[in-house]
């Protein structure tokens, strides 16, 4: 079975993980720019990070026959530091022009603050000017529903961005309905403690249907699993779902969304 993982942080993973992805049929991945697990002190650190995901990871991935793409953006967690954030925003066009960079992301909100909103608005404006795909990070846990609503309001206010070119990630049961009603794609993240399990993700496909959903591991430096998408596909198989449905959810859906960027070609 072929799988696209549209959200995985390979900078934090070992080379063995690339091998495991290759063995399991995950031959195309996209890596959003995000928080490194600590607040960076200077914009130079972001510059190096963007170089890493634009240049180093595609080479590591290619050793195992994996195609690696990235998203460039200023994450919401560090956006509270406005001075730093504005310096990082100036770098974005240079990296959005890179050949494996497929859009702005993951941008969004973390604690739903006014500073985070200011930086998100600025990045939505860049996305609109450049006609970039957008990958949205929604807040965790108790902040998710409010943050998802605030984010959707901001995107709707930027009329140049089509909802069909935006994927709102880390959706959960209480946010999916509103996301779908507004015409956005949504992502389900398989992350043991703070997001969803394979069982709940399959429940979601059964309840909300298979249109407009992409399932990802978001594997990173914390407790996470780069093979989570495979395990979720196996959960669908265990429940007796057809192979065509599994192919749609784990390959054709992410391929359809990501292929809106002409740079993206799935293996």
């Amino acid at each position: 079975m072929k799988i696209i993982d549209p959200h995985i942080h390979m900078v934090s993973r070992t080379t063995d993980d690339y091998l495991a992805l290759a063995y399991c049929g995950i031959h195309t991945v996209t890596e959003p720019a995000f928080w490194a697990g600590f607040d960076r002190l200077s914009a130079d650190s972001f510059y190096d990070y963007f170089v890493h995901i634009c240049e180093v990871e595609p080479v590591r991935a290619s050793r195992f026959g994996i195609c690696h793409y990235c998203w460039i953006g200023m994450n919401s967690k560090e956006s509270e530091n406005l001075s730093l954030a504005h310096q990082v925003l100036k770098m974005l066009p240079e990296f959005l022009d890179r050949k494996t960079s497929i859009g702005i992301g993951e941008i969004g909100l973390n604690k739903n603050s006014r500073n985070e909103i200011q930086i998100l608005q600025a990045q939505l404006s860049i996305a609109a000017q450049r006609n970039e795909l957008v990958l949205i990070h929604t807040p965790h846990l108790e902040d998710k529903r409010k943050g998802t609503r605030l984010i959707m309001d901001l995107i709707r206010n930027e009329s140049r961005i089509l909802p069909s070119r935006v994927l709102i990630d880390h959706a959960e049961e209480h946010t999916i309905g509103e996301i779908k009603d507004n015409g956005f794609w949504y992502g389900l993240t398989l992350y043991p403690n703070s997001k969803g399990s394979p069982e709940r993700a399959v429940d979601t496909v059964e309840i909300f249907g298979s249109e407009g959903v992409c399932i990802n591991s978001s594997a990173d430096w914390s407790v996470s699993d780069p093979l989570a998408t495979v395990k979720c596909a196996n959960e669908m198989r265990r429940r007796g779902h057809r192979q065509e449905l599994m192919d749609k959810v784990f390959y054709h859906n992410p391929n359809q969304f990501l292929s809106q960027c002409p740079k993206f070609k799935a293996l």
Partner: protein, 97 residues
Amino acid sequence: MPAIKAVEMYFPDNRARLLEIAAFLDRIDRYESGDQARQDFRYRSFIKALQILLEPDGLRTIKVQEALSDPTREPIEAVADSKAYGAWKPGDGDEDY
């Protein structure tokens, strides 16, 4: 898939989760200052969410998520604490939903 199949597939795992919850609540009762712990916003939200589990309407997951969510609409002025707790802590002046 017949519902009884779901019982067969998922009962053992969820039996274990049920016991984890029971042990978690017993632990709070057993340790000192239990009364104080039971006033914590997380504990109170947890108990409220547990009661939702007995509502047989097929919407338990969404209702539990909502019970643990920030019900306000306005952005916060600044981030004083970037941690997420898993339950909403009412601020001064907020109605305790």
